[in-house]
């Protein structure tokens, strides 16, 4: 069986970058991902656009909307990921999506499309209680189902969730939707420590990480193994008033900054 890049993540300072597929347009999206890939982050998370991304904040929601303007299909997103995988090297590819996208595409067909291309998948609205069938199929094809843990997840539930976890754990730092609220390092540290007692896979902190300072603080003030940055990458596009060439440049600068 082909190896899974997620199984050889570095021990510390893991960087995962999230970006919505097809944003701002399909062609520009290729350039965005190529820019991201050129920095060789440890992980790239590919968001599949969904009309009703209820667990995402306004920024990613807007990115979804822009991507879907031109009726971007799931197949086009998967083709994009496949094309990019040629230059993937050691970077892990992870898909982040909502369950309706996978269901409607067809679970088997979906897996066939991403097999040996994608290392992991986060299905935001698939709770642990509903995951059995999907998890089995994914694991047969050496794709890890990434688990989310929130500050609301109590110890008993965490234990169940973390059993046999693979890839990494996505710890939702703020009780909030992506790209919102302030970071509470004490709480993050406490919860990350508790997760680490139950699982040996890396714990990445996501939601609300916006700057180099946030990345450094997470690394210094908490026990986390790395960070996930999403909304902040997309926000840059709106900051420069949607000038695409300027966006690529500001993206480059930002990624260089957060690679600590």
């Amino acid at each position: 069986m082909q190896m899974n890049n997620l199984d050889s993540l570095p021990k510390k300072k893991i960087l995962s970058l999230f970006m919505t597929c097809g944003f701002p347009t399909l062609n520009q999206s290729k350039k965005v991902f190529n820019e991201m890939l050129s920095h060789q982050p440890d992980i790239i998370e590919f968001g599949l656009p969904f009309s009703d991304p209820m667990a995402d904040g306004p920024i990613i929601q807007e990115a979804n909307k822009l991507a879907l303007r031109s009726k971007l299909s799931t197949q086009q997103s998967l083709n994009l990921i496949k094309e990019l995988s040629k230059s993937k090297n050691n970077t892990s590819f992870v898909i982040m999506c909502y369950l309706n996208t996978v269901r409607k595409f067809g679970l088997n067909k979906f897996i066939k499309n991403i097999k040996s291309i994608v290392d992991g998948i986060i299905i935001v609205d698939l709770p642990f209680e509903e995951e059995d069938e999907i998890k089995k199929l994914l694991s047969k094809n050496n794709i890890h189902l990434i688990k989310l843990i929130s500050p609301m997840t109590d110890k008993k539930r965490s234990q169940k969730l973390l059993k046999n976890s693979k890839g990494f754990i996505y710890y939702i730092s703020a009780t909030g939707i992506t790209g919102s609220n302030k970071l509470d390092y004490k709480e993050i540290n406490k919860n990350v420590k508790s997760i680490k007692r139950m699982s040996s896979v890396p714990v990445l902190v996501g939601f609300g990480i916006k700057s180099k300072k946030d990345v450094i603080d997470i690394s210094k003030k908490t026990n986390a193994d790395g960070v996930i940055i999403g909304s902040a990458l997309i926000q840059k596009y709106f900051d420069i008033k949607m000038d695409f060439n300027k966006y690529l440049k500001s993206l480059k600068k930002f990624i260089q900054e957060v690679k600590i």
């Binding site: 969904f50 009703d52 269901r103 609205d125 609301m152 997840t153 109590d154 539930r157 009780t175």
Partner: protein, 401 residues
């Protein structure tokens, strides 16, 4: 027939329902489910709710024999279950009282809700005023425009209205935003969902609180007709008024049950809200049920003249009842509903909301000169005051003149 016993402990109505939400909400829903189970056995809770039903809402709502409409249709004997006489003018208050009592028991201090027609928003704002809790209502900007009287009502009642500009700017998007608010404010906030939609335990909980409608109707009809009705008819958006009426009759296999959806400009057009006629099973707002979606599972925008039915999903229990063929669902267009809206006003002296006007339109259309000697109960779940401007515009009446 096997006794009806849905949902399962994990909120499944057959294959429909479930809890498809992010891990930030999962612990909350499980906690809500636990608390809800607990209060179901709580006699004090029941007593408190029944007192409020009686003295605050004005229950039981009457069962009115619509003689003139019956004569006009020349078919069955038609009874209106008059939940439009409730305090706040619709059935929504039944559920809001139940949920706010639960919120109190759970120690929550902030209430949020979504609203389409504004009826659920008004009902939520009302119970928040009564219990002294801060209230935030998410409402699509399109709905704010077409339901102005209810917007003002909510403001008078002390609620803060948060306009939703995303997507189709109506009920679906208001629900997305309310869910986002809940994810952000998990610790102190209780989300009062107004329909039998959303993740478990909402579809069950809302049905249970609304089933007071059907329980009363059953007793009332047995008293006047000495038998159960032959037909039940109600409009279905998310489906709470319909589930409220239907649920206590599901085991009575001789009672035929009909749900009426909003077909907008026609169930086969793109401008429709007839989820079960034109939709396919999918996941929206945390629940697996029929939804209007494209081949990639992107949720389509719904269309209906009635803001309360303008929703691309439907409750999971309705999806199940459709599939097991216990309930039949039909679509009624904007135009047909508007006609029924006027017919009912003229014949019965009751101005119905545009939502039950859909049920009325189906009744007039399908029962005309048919089903004589039969008895029908129609859930008149809301009154039409809120729709006067919309209806006037659609009919071509200049309300300013």
């Amino acid at each position: 027939m096997k006794k009806y016993k849905q949902p399962s402990t994990i909120g499944r109505f057959g294959e429909f329902g479930g809890m498809y939400v992010s891990e930030t909400l999962m612990p909350l829903l499980l906690d809500l489910d636990k608390s809800y189970k607990k209060i179901q056995k709580d006699k004090k809770f029941k007593k408190e709710l029944n007192d409020l039903f009686k003295n605050y809402v004005g229950r039981p709502s009457s069962l009115h024999y619509a003689k003139n409409l019956s004569k006009y249709i020349n078919g069955p004997k038609i009874y209106f279950k008059r939940d439009e006489l409730n305090h706040t003018g619709a059935h929504k208050i039944n559920n809001c009282l139940g949920q706010i009592l639960l919120a109190k028991k759970m120690g929550k201090t902030r209430i949020i809700a979504e609203t389409g027609a504004g009826q659920h928003g008004v009902a939520t704002a009302t119970v928040c005023a009564l219990f002294g809790l801060p209230c935030y209502i998410y409402m699509g900007s399109k709905d704010i425009e077409r339901q102005k009287p209810n917007v003002f009502r909510m403001k008078l009642l002390g609620a803060t209205i948060i306009p939703v500009e995303s997507g189709s700017k109506s009920l679906k998007d208001a629900m997305n935003e309310a869910l986002r608010d809940w994810i952000k404010n998990v610790r102190d906030t209780f989300y009062i969902i107004g329909s039998t939609a959303g993740p478990h335990p909402y579809p069950k909980m809302v049905r249970d609180f609304q089933s007071v409608i059907g329980k009363e109707a059953r007793e009332q009809i047995l008293k006047v007709e000495k038998k159960l009705p032959d037909y039940l008819i109600a409009c279905v958006g998310g489906g709470s008024n319909a589930m409220g009426l239907f649920y206590p009759f599901l085991n009575d296999k001789n009672v035929k049950i009909i749900g009426v959806e909003a077909a907008g400009k026609g169930a086969k057009t793109e401008e429709t809200a007839a989820t079960m006629t034109s939709g396919t099973p999918g996941i929206l707002h945390g629940s697996y049920s029929y939804v209007l979606q494209d081949n990639d599972g992107q949720i389509k925008e719904a269309h209906s003249i009635s803001a309360g039915l303008d929703y691309p999903g439907v409750g999971p229990e309705h999806s199940y009842l459709k599939d097991i063929k216990r309930v039949k669902y039909f679509g009624i267009t904007d135009k047909e509903a508007l006609e029924a809206f006027q017919t009912c006003s003229k014949l019965e002296g009751i101005i119905p909301a545009l939502e039950p006007s859909h049920a009325l339109a189906y009744l007039i259309k399908a029962f005309k000169n048919k089903h004589k000697n039969k008895v029908v109960i129609l859930n008149l779940c809301g009154r039409g005051d809120k729709d006067l401007f919309t209806a006037a515009k659609a009919i071509g009446f200049d309300a300013d003149e």
